[in-house]
């Protein structure tokens, strides 16, 4: 029993994980004045359900608090209490306590302080004007049954406690089933489905099933197209206890619902209650000419199997026109079944798919070595496997994908708490919560987002007085949105606060020694300084941001996820942080490049174009000695990849002049123009481009340490380890070295 209860407790906690967001959503609607009675009922029910479940498991602290909360919500439900902002705030705070109490019960959170519970209890009780004056009535576990209620004993007259067999004769179900040819193509078999129906019947009850094979559309043997389906079956079987239900029948056909015509019809007329349901009944109830009454004969299966008493047939069925149903209750049921799967299993699947991608690449590379890829047949088949591998991988990813909603909704609380602490009034608006991302990414998003939102409340949004003085509404707004863009997810945090005070940022940066005094920086570059380690501009180190986590940590966390952060700020109007993240941490599409004998991977998503440039013609040396290249009238800093990554030159022989990560003798260079999220570009000088492939991302930090300019590693088809370049860092370090104004001057000259 203990184990059983433990399992049920798990179910209860899962319910809480669904009920709490529901509560939050409802409170959100109420605070935005969009609520209906239905919303209020829903939030009441959420708290009520948590209380009821908690009571079953003796989670007393949770029960007691939920009870008080429920009573307060009941006041709202009955119209006694008007939801003014103060009351809604109390409800929000109570929700936070409730959710912390759930976490406490789950042992995933710290114990909630009694003083905090007490404080919230008092606030809730104040709402319904029950400040301790009537404590007894609120006692938990109180039986809501009136004193004078007498239980009513049942009248056994109308009862029948016999075993089900003695039930009134069941009505019959008529199942019309006609497979499409795809059913057979997929390897399913009509015979198994009929057998499945037979298994629905009780032991020894198979004779009650009647099967008629419909052969009227069967062409003569001479002109029979063998790869098409020509047969259909009409099966009649008893319904009800001891028999079978429509659901059972439907379940038999669950796997083939899309590749057959299926109609299930109840024989006797049914209550009008079902009449409003969708009926998928064909009007032609035309009598079928039953050619064969013996299902064994009519099945397109080897005789020896079919004759082994597969399905009992009823000879009478031949003379009885199939069913002639009052086509009333037949219906097709929707199949929206879902199951819960342990995340570990999906992770395992994901890993194996990763290995499969590598395996497939290694097969291809082995075949290329053998020169076998001249064989057209082989190439074709390999292409099929390649496509399949990719499809499987996408399908597995889709299983693990989750909407960002959960993380986003948690941010409501973050903003609520932060604004309460900062004495500001801030509303968080969510957009694109349905955007799906890989689960692993979602898990890692919570911390950076939490910090950025706290920051937005603390430093972005001004105090109500300042806002009003500036002619803005006293309440600040932060918009948190998510959307997909070219294979990545973009998350924006946009506040309507005062914007970044770049003058002060620069002063602070100079004071902290982050940049030398007298440095000349553009607005964007100054804004970027807030990501520098050890930077903090807050005039007063507040409760929130004084926690020792700076924006540099946020940036690092995002970069560790393969993402980037950019800032845009407009003084007086607000600040926009954009996070660009990959959809997954598992694989990426990469361009395989060669440089000084090493193969490296550049994410395809950051590649703009691949061009050949000539040393003397397109490449310019700017005053500080670094090189820029002119591509389509735009001057782009050149990065000599080999030098940048300090790859050893002696790894390759003298006879390979190209492998220097520099121009060859003919002055030709291959450059890969890459771009980061902010639109900054750089040109990577490489020795060659080998291939484009999907690579499995392996963390290099976990196995070695962080390397500047390298985001991760992968294993190539030939088994070698290859580095995945961190294009963004490379671009930033290249542009930092170059005075951007010089670039503009050159661009002018070139034009």
């Amino acid at each position: 029993m203990g184990d059983v209860m433990d399992d049920i407790l798990k179910i209860f906690f899962e319910e809480c994980d669904e009920l709490l967001p529901e509560l939050e959503r409802g409170l959100g609607e109420i605070s935005e004045d969009e609520s209906s009675q239905e919303t209020i009922n829903a939030i009441f029910r959420a708290v009520h359900s948590i209380k009821g479940g908690a009571a079953s498991f003796g989670l007393d602290r949770l029960v007691r608090f939920a009870h008080v909360y429920e009573s307060a919500l009941d006041g709202l439900r009955s119209g006694q209490v008007e939801p003014d902002p103060a009351i809604i705030k109390t409800f929000y705070l109570a929700m936070d306590v409730l959710s912390d109490l759930v976490a406490e019960a789950k042992h995933t959170g710290d114990a909630v302080e009694d003083s905090r519970i007490e404080e919230n209890v008092q606030k809730l009780e104040a709402i319904i004007g029950r400040e301790g004056d009537a404590p007894a009535t609120a006692e938990v576990g109180e039986t809501p049954v009136p004193e004078d209620f007498t239980p009513v004993a049942v009248d056994f007259g109308g009862f029948d406690f016999d075993e089900p067999a003695a039930e009134p004769p069941a009505s019959m179900l008529t199942v019309k089933f006609r497979p499409h040819s795809e059913l057979y193509v997929r390897g399913d078999d009509a015979r198994n489905l009929l057998l499945g129906l037979k298994e629905l019947l009780p032991e020894g009850g198979a004779e009650a099933m009647q099967v008629v094979c419909e052969t009227q559309t069967l062409p003569s043997l001479v002109e029979l197209p063998v790869d098409e389906a020509h047969l259909g079956w009409t099966v009649r079987l008893p319904e009800g206890p001891g028999g079978t239900t429509e659901d059972d029948v439907q379940a038999v056909f669950d796997w083939v619902g899309d590749v057959c015509d299926l109609e299930i019809v109840r024989d006797d007329a049914v209550e009008p209650a079902t009449a409003d349901e969708n009926h998928a009944v064909e009007d032609e109830a035309a009598p079928q000419e039953a050619v064969s009454a013996d299902v064994s004969d009519s099945l397109p299966v080897p005789q020896d199997e079919a004759s082994s008493g597969v399905v009992e047939a009823d000879a009478q069925a031949a003379s009885r026109p199939a069913a002639a149903p009052p086509a009333k209750a037949g219906r097709k049921r929707e199949q929206n079944a879902s199951i819960r799967v342990d995340i570990g299993r999906i992770g395992m699947l994901m890993d194996m798919v990763g290995e499969m991608v590598i395996g497939q690449a290694s097969l291809e590379s082995a075949l290329t070595r053998e020169g076998a890829l001249h064989d057209q047949e082989l190439v074709k088949r390999l292409a099929v496997i390649k496509t399949l591998t990719r499809d499987i991988q996408e399908a597995v990813m889709a299983i693990r994908a989750q909407p960002v909603r959960h993380v986003f909704q948690r941010m409501q609380r973050v903003v609520r708490e932060a604004s309460a602490l900062a004495g500001k009034d801030v509303a968080l608006v969510l957009e694109g919560e349905e955007t799906e991302v890989d689960r692993t990414l979602i898990e890692n998003l919570t911390d950076p987002l939490t910090h950025m939102l706290r920051n937005a409340v603390d430093h972005g949004i001004e105090s109500p007085e300042v806002r009003q003085a500036a002619g803005k509404p006293a309440q600040g707004t932060i918009l948190l949105s998510a959307r997909h863009r070219s294979g990545r997810i973009l998350i924006e945090i946009r506040d309507d606060g005062g914007g970044i005070n770049s003058k002060r940022v620069l002063q602070t940066a100079i004071k902290r020694g982050i940049v030398p005094p007298g440095v000349s920086l553009g607005e964007n570059e100054i804004n970027e300084l807030i990501f520098a380690p050890g930077f903090s501009t807050a005039e007063t180190v507040s409760d929130l941001s004084g926690r020792g986590v700076g924006m540099d940590v946020v940036k690092q966390a995002i970069q560790n996820l393969g993402g980037r952060v950019t800032i845009k700020s407009r003084p007086g109007r607000g600040t926009l942080f954009t996070l660009s993240l990959p959809l997954t941490l598992a694989v990426l599409d990469g361009m395989l490049i060669e440089c000084r004998g090493s193969t490296m991977v550049v994410p395809v998503s950051s590649v703009v174009e691949l061009v050949t440039v000539k040393m003397g013609e397109d490449v310019y040396t700017i005053p500080d000695g670094s090189h820029v290249v002119s591509v389509r009238g735009r001057c782009i800093p050149l990065i000599y990849l080999g030098d940048e990554l300090t790859l050893p030159k002696d790894m390759i022989g003298e006879e390979e002049p190209h492998h220097m990560g520099r121009a060859g003798e003919d002055g030709q260079m291959i450059v890969l123009v890459v771009e980061n999220e902010a639109g900054a570009r750089a040109a990577l000088v490489v020795d060659g481009v080998r291939d484009q492939a999907q690579v499995v991302i392996k963390s290099i930090e976990k196995n070695y340490r962080q390397i500047k300019g390298v985001s991760a590693a992968t294993i190539l088809g030939d088994g070698s380890v290859s580095l995945i370049l961190d294009v963004s860092t490379l671009i930033v370090s290249a542009t930092k070295r170059i005075d951007t104004r010089a670039l503009e001057a050159i661009a002018e000259r070139a034009a």
Binding site: L9, G53, T143, V152
Partner: protein, 129 residues
């Protein structure tokens, strides 16, 4: 009077955990094959085709609630006589009154013990073996 295994029971509650707890308590009392449905509508659909002796239903459910289910059950001659117990944790006298008027057989207040469940059932069915 009847043995628990003879009583065909249907549990209706929107919360899976509550249903499971009740089902496991009922199994402890000797009930067999207790059916579970998650709201009034689903319960009615089941009742249409399956004879049931006992419905234990939650009060507050989304869509069709326990009271509406009780009223629907009593108004259908096929199901009018079955035993209906309302599972409740809510101290709402108004709803209780309505349930009594609609012909509820008994109430089971949450939280409850197996003994309390047995007592509640026996008030309706007589001693359960």
């Amino acid at each position: 009077m009847p043995s628990a295994s003879q009583i065909r029971a249907l549990i209706v509650d929107d919360q899976a955990s509550i249903r499971q707890v009740l089902a496991s308590h009922m199994a402890a009392l000797g009930f067999k094959g207790v059916v579970q449905r998650k709201d009034g509508k689903e319960a009615l659909e089941y009742l249409e085709t399956n004879p049931i002796h006992l419905v234990i239903s939650d009060f507050n459910m989304p869509g069709m609630d326990g009271l509406a289910l009780l009223e629907a059950v009593r108004s259908n001659s096929k199901t009018a006589k079955l035993a209906f117990i309302i599972l409740t944790g809510e101290a709402n006298a108004g709803l209780v009154q309505k349930a009594v008027a609609a012909g509820v057989n008994n109430f089971l207040a949450k939280p409850y013990t197996v003994a309390k469940l047995k007592e509640t059932l026996e008030k309706v069915f007589g001693p359960i073996r």
